[in-house]
Symmetry: C2
Subunit: 400 residues, 2 copies
């Protein structure tokens, strides 16, 4: 199995792109990634996208983007894993290069939601839950997240206000990301009085659906230095699933897929949570961020909001701990780790099938020292993307 | 890169499954493939499907099927490449096992069209063409195929009746396949008087949309004999794309993606068209079968119907030629090769995202000597699946 590195990254601004179509956005990101590395050629393109068919009557998206991106004959598919579609594209790119089949592969994530109205978007986004047992009841993604959050508040005796740090951190970091959709900081007071979307999920607990595309260009690590002065090595790529419907899970507050995929990634990379300098967590909803942090070993069960209050997830929050390696027990309360360093899904925005690639691009930015005002000292970072209510989890650990 | 073999195959009957849902069909095929090989575990599941979101409000399909299939935590994604989605799933399974990342991978193709009406199905099927430049004009898949066929008739001076052998062969072979949707032979006379769907595409030139699921279980070739008495080795796996819109192609009658992916497959396997004992061709429309046969080197340009008339594509049609290897020029007229040995898309049926896996399963049946009344002497077979009007082509060469 060959080692794989990221040699090029590209991203469009996240937001409402009224004058750019689905294909335009994807091609913009791809061209940026190609210009970043000038590869000899592109052998394959994997496009992560959830709703191109439902929202823009376009399937066969991989081939469309390869065509409009001028990739002349390259292999191309679309891959879908709900909100984790973008991360799935990175995962496939990793497999293709690791296998020795392809040398230069682009993983692109793209979503265009503004071609449909908000009602259509919300209905289609809910295609990520179990259509016959959850969707048929009329649930939406925010309502499912609301049920999880309500249960968390009850189970761990946490007041709703304690979730404030998640969007506060995201917005503080997003303010310095030129590509972010929301570039204004918010306070805990603003969070406390925000309108409800699906009680107890408020406007600031839910990431905004929007348009955007991001891309990474992968090649074998042994060739990477020829194309990039700062290649980023993929130390681990791992994926896992859980029961799709929340009601099928033994413990709805334990994100088993997030746990499994993180453990597989830690094992592959030979590192543990304490070794990571940042974690791009899937904060489509604050509650998912809290549960993922707990599942991945950055916080004990029920302690994510406690650690958050102490600033353990702030940009420069965690005091560096001695490197410990894989399998070392988590200290009381958890390690903490900087999260959402470029704004997370909440402030950068959540262009559904693109978010997983944005996360990987943002970890790469930190590892390459290109994170601007949000730069932290980082050598090892992790990105984890969740699909739906957490039934799919895809985790990448990157090294700069 | 590890060699990859097929150790298990499974398929549902193809047709109208009013009492089985999308997930039921997929799980039926998966269980059959698992029972065929009894693997130690399943590491990953790739589900090829085009329209689960549009027709049944269900995305996140990989994880749903892994959940209902009892695959407990396995990696799972849906992959989409229009009609070639199933073949794309096989391709990803190949990459995952070849890479060394996974040992036991299931590639499943599934489609459920009877949950929506025919109009919805036809509109959604056309999401495989360019939505903004072709789809917006109101084209359907049959109408696009009609344009290609009309051009072929004009360009090569072939009468429409000369396309009869394609559906005649498919129906003759489908009659002996217990899983086929249509199990009755047709004659050239029946073909000649069939009603038009999109002139010159008649009812017998167009494969029927329907329900079905098929699955293959892959593992490294070195382990294959432990799980199967008759493992089928994947000698080549290759994929290519063309311009998505037909009007963008320099020569609409040259299926460049089919040509490229076949050439890549021939090169990988070190064989040429004359070495192949059968070819499961993508006969979603007779014209696509003819064009693919020409692009893959089984017939000269414009000669597919001539060879067909001579019986060169019949089940026992081709006189075995001396093995020639890759790169040898095609003889005058072409080699011919048995096609659609289990009925092809036309008679077995075309459950869109499942067809690519059915093709691979059927080649495996031939190589394992399990093709019943349609058994031919076969050691090397090829399956090629096309997406849309041929913009994606995925080719597998299998050895028994």
């Amino acid at each position: 199995m060959r080692e794989v590195s990221i040699i090029g990254i590209g991203q469009t601004d996240v937001g409402e792109h009224w004058e750019r179509s689905l294909r335009d956005l994807a091609v913009d990101a791809i061209i940026a990634a190609i210009k970043d590395a000038h590869p000899e050629r592109v052998d394959a393109l994997y496009v992560g996208n959830m709703l191109s068919g439902e929202l823009t009557a376009q399937e066969h998206l991989g081939t469309l983007v390869a065509d409009w991106g001028g990739l002349g004959g390259a292999e191309a598919f679309k891959v879908e894993a709900a909100d984790a579609s973008g991360a799935a594209a990175v995962r496939l790119g990793y497999l293709a290069v690791a296998s020795g089949v392809h040398d230069f592969v682009i993983a692109c994530g793209v979503e265009k939601t503004t071609d449909a109205d908000a009602e259509t978007n919300n209905a289609a986004w809910a295609y990520g839950v179990d259509a016959e047992y959850e969707g048929n009841q009329g649930v939406t993604m925010p309502s499912m997240a609301g049920l999880l959050m309500r249960r968390y508040l009850h189970e761990f005796g946490v007041p709703r206000e304690d979730f404030a740090p998640f969007p506060v951190i995201a917005h503080a970091n997003g303010a310095n990301n030129p590509h972010a959709m929301y570039r204004s900081a918010i306070s805990a007071e603003v969070y406390a009085r925000a309108g409800m979307v699906a009680d107890p999920i408020s406007m600031f607990d839910a990431a905004p659906l929007c348009d955007g595309a991001a891309a990474v260009l992968l090649c074998p690590s042994e060739m990477a230095r020829r194309f990039s002065a700062k290649p980023v090595r993929i130390r681990a790529s791992a994926s896992a699933t859980d029961r799709l419907a929340v009601h099928s899970r033994t413990d709805p507050l334990f994100l088993r897929a997030a746990y499994l995929s993180a453990q597989r990634a830690y094992l592959q990379a030979g590192v543990g949570p304490s070794d990571l300098d940042l974690f791009e967590v899937h904060d489509a909803f604050s509650i998912l961020a809290a549960l993922a942090l707990e599942a991945c070993g950055f916080a004990e069960r029920g302690k994510a909001t406690v650690l958050a209050k102490e600033g353990a997830f702030n940009l420069h929050g965690r005091t560096p701990t001695p490197k410990r390696g894989y399998g070392v027990p988590t200290p009381k309360g958890g390690y903490g780790v900087p999260i959402c360093t470029m704004g997370g899904l909440k402030a950068r925005g959540h262009p559904i099938g693109a978010s997983g690639v944005y996360q990987v691009v943002e970890v790469a930015q930190q590892l390459r020292g290109e994170a601007g005002a949000n730069q932290i000292e980082a050598h090892l970072g992790m990105a984890q993307s969740l699909g739906g209510t957490g039934a799919t989890a895809i985790t990448h650990i990157l090294e700069g």
